[in-house]
C-alpha cells in the first residue's frame, strides 16, 4: 500500500488540496446556530419557563402568612388527603394491570395482540371530560346501575369511588405502555431458562423478570402518579365539588380561583407545581436507567 501511494505521489505532482469541510457539512454556520438556539429558547421561555416562575411568584406574592394559611386551610388539607387517597388506589391497580398486560403481550405470541395494544392506549385518546361522563352514564342517578346503587345506599358519582374510577381511567395505560416495549425487547429466553431449570412461574417473575424491568416499572409509576394527582377534567365531572368531601387539589384550585382568592389558588397550585418539578427530576434520573436496560436487552438480543 505504502509503496503504491509513494509511486502515485511521485507521478502526480503534489497539489495542495483544501481539507474537506467536515464541520461545515454537518452543522450550520455560527450565526444560524445562534439564531436557531435563540428562537427555540424564546419560544420555550414564553410557554414553559415564564409560567413555571409565575406560579411560585404569584403564590408568595402576598407573603408567607397568606401562603401558609392557604395550604393549611381545612378544605385544602382534606383536598390533599383525597388527592393522595385517589392516587394511592389508582396507581397500584394500574401497576398490577400494567405488569399483567406486559407479561401477556411481551412473553407470549397470541391472536389479537395488536387489537389489545390499541385498546390499552384507548384512554389516552379519550377527552378527560368524556372519561368522567361515561361513569356518570353507568353509575349516575339516571345511569345503568343508578337505581340499584340508591336502593343499596351506595354512592359512586359525587363521591370518592367515582373520583377513584375516573382517575384510574385517565392513568390506565401509563405503566403498561412503559413496560411492554421494554419486556418485548428483552425477549423470553431468560424466563424460559429459569422455568426449564425448575423455577416456578412466580419465582421466575420475582427473580428474573422484575429485576430486569424495575426501572421501566418505576418510570411508568412516576408518570402515572403525576397524572393521577393532577387530573382535573375527568374528576371534575364525577366529583360534585362538595367542599371538604369530594374536592381534590386541582378542583380546590378552581374553586379558590373562581372566588377571586388568587393568592390562595396559586399557593395550592404551587404544591402541584412542586410535585411536577419533582416528577421531572425523578423522570430524568430514571429515564437513563431505562435506556440502559433497553440497550442492554438489544445488545444481548443481537448477540444471541
Amino acid at each position: 500500500m505504502q509503496a503504491v501511494s509513494q509511486t502515485v505521489n511521485a507521478v502526480v505532482p503534489h497539489r495542495p488540496i483544501a481539507p474537506p469541510d467536515v464541520a461545515g457539512a454537518t452543522t450550520e454556520p455560527a450565526w444560524v446556530r445562534r439564531l436557531l438556539i435563540g428562537v427555540a429558547l424564546v419560544f420555550l421561555s414564553l410557554f414553559l419557563f415564564v409560567p413555571l416562575v409565575a406560579v411560585f411568584f404569584e403564590a408568595f406574592k402576598k407573603g408567607w402568612d397568606v401562603y401558609l394559611a392557604a395550604v393549611t386551610d381545612p378544605d385544602a388539607v382534606s383536598a390533599i388527603w383525597l388527592t393522595l387517597t385517589a392516587a394511592a388506589i389508582a396507581v397500584p391497580l394500574n401497576l398490577v394491570f400494567g405488569v399483567a398486560a406486559a407479561w401477556a403481550i411481551a412473553k407470549f405470541d397470541f391472536h389479537g395482540k395488536s387489537v389489545l395494544l390499541t385498546l390499552i392506549d384507548l384512554p389516552f385518546s379519550v377527552s378527560p371530560v368524556i372519561a368522567g361522563l361515561i361513569y356518570v352514564l353507568v353509575f349516575g342517578l339516571q345511569g345503568w346501575f343508578g337505581a340499584w346503587l340508591i336502593d343499596n345506599d351506595h354512592k359512586v358519582i359525587f363521591a370518592i369511588p367515582g373520583i377513584v374510577l375516573a382517575t384510574i381511567f385517565v392513568t390506565f395505560p401509563f405503566v403498561a405502555r412503559e413496560l411492554i416495549p421494554l419486556m418485548q425487547a428483552q425477549g423470553q429466553e431468560q424466563e424460559e431458562a429459569a422455568c426449564v431449570l425448575g423455577a416456578s412461574g412466580w419465582q421466575t417473575f420475582w427473580k428474573v423478570t422484575l429485576p430486569n424491568v424495575k426501572w421501566g416499572l418505576l418510570y411508568g409509576v412516576i408518570l402515572c402518579n403525576a397524572r393521577a394527582m393532577g387530573e382535573f377534567g375527568a374528576v371534575s365531572v364525577v366529583s360534585g365539588h362538595i367542599r371538604g368531601q369530594t374536592n381534590t387539589l386541582p378542583l380546590h384550585i378552581e374553586i379558590l380561583y373562581n372566588e377571586y382568592q388568587f393568592a390562595a389558588a396559586f399557593a395550592v397550585a404551587s404544591l402541584l407545581a412542586s410535585l411536577a418539578l419533582v416528577t421531572l427530576v425523578l423522570k430524568y434520573a430514571v429515564e437513563r436507567r431505562v435506556q440502559q436496560q433497553l440497550s442492554q436487552a438489544k445488545d444481548t438480543g443481537a448477540s444471541a
Binding site: T26, L46, L48, P51, L119, I134, L251, Y257, K283
Partner: protein
Amino acid sequence: MFLSKTLLRRHTVLPGFDLALGLTLLYLCLIVLIPLSAAFLRTTELSWPQFVDTVTSPRVVASYKLTFGASLLAALVNACFGLLVAWVLVRHDFFGRRVVDALVDLPFALPTAVAGITLTGLYAANGWIGQWLAPLGIKVAFTPVGVFVAMTFIGLPFVVRTVQPILEDMASELEEAAATLGASRWQSFTKVIFPILTPALLTGFALAFARALGEYGSIIFIAGNMPMISEITPLLIITKLEQHDHAGATAIAVVMLVMSFVLLLAINGLQAWTRKRQGK
C-alpha cells in the same frame, strides 16, 4: 386454560398466560370498554333526527369550529417549534441544555388546572405577557386566542419527543455524503434530513392535535367560555350534564369519541410508518 388453548400461536414453557391475559381483559372491560360502550348505547335513547339536531345545533357547531381550528393551529405551531427545539437539543450544545431538555416535559407533568390559572394570569391585560400585547390591540385571555395558547402549551412536548430520538439515531454519514456530492446545508436539510423526519413529525403533530381536541382543564380558565365565541366542545358536554341533559351530553361525546378513534387509527398507522422507515 381456555385462553391459552384458543389464542396462543405456539407452545411455550412459560406459565401465567391465562392469569395475565385474563386479568388484563377483565380490567380492560370493567374500566374502559363497558363504560365507553355506555356512551354509544345511551345515545340510542335519542331518535336519529334528535341526535342530528343536538350535534348540529349552532352553538355546538360553533364549538366544533373553535376546538378544531385552535387545535389544528396549535398542533401546527408545535410541529414547527417542536422540530426546532428537537433540532437544537440534539445538534447543539449550549449552557443549560440538560435543564431545558428535562423541562420540555413540563406540560405533561404540570396539572392542567395549574397551567390554566397560570396562563390566564400571564396573558390577562395586566399580566406579565399580556401587558405587552394589550397596547398592540392583542387580547389573549378570555378570547379564542387564549384557547390556542393553552392548546399550544399542553401539546408542546409531543413533537419534540417524537422527533428527538429519530434525530439522535440519524447517521451523520448521510449529511456528509450529501455535502460531498455538493449539496448546500439547506439542500441537505430539505432533501435528506427532513424526509427522514417526516413520519415522526406527522406522528407528533397528530398526537398534539388529538390531545388539544380533548383538553379541558387548562382551557376553561383562559377561554372566558362565551357561547358561540370561546366555548370549547368538552365544556358543552359539561354544561349539558349540569342541566341534566344526559342524552344531549352523550350525543356530543359520541361525536368527539368517533373523531378521537379516527385520529387514534391515523396515529397508529403513522407510527407503523415511522418504524418501517427506521428499519425496525
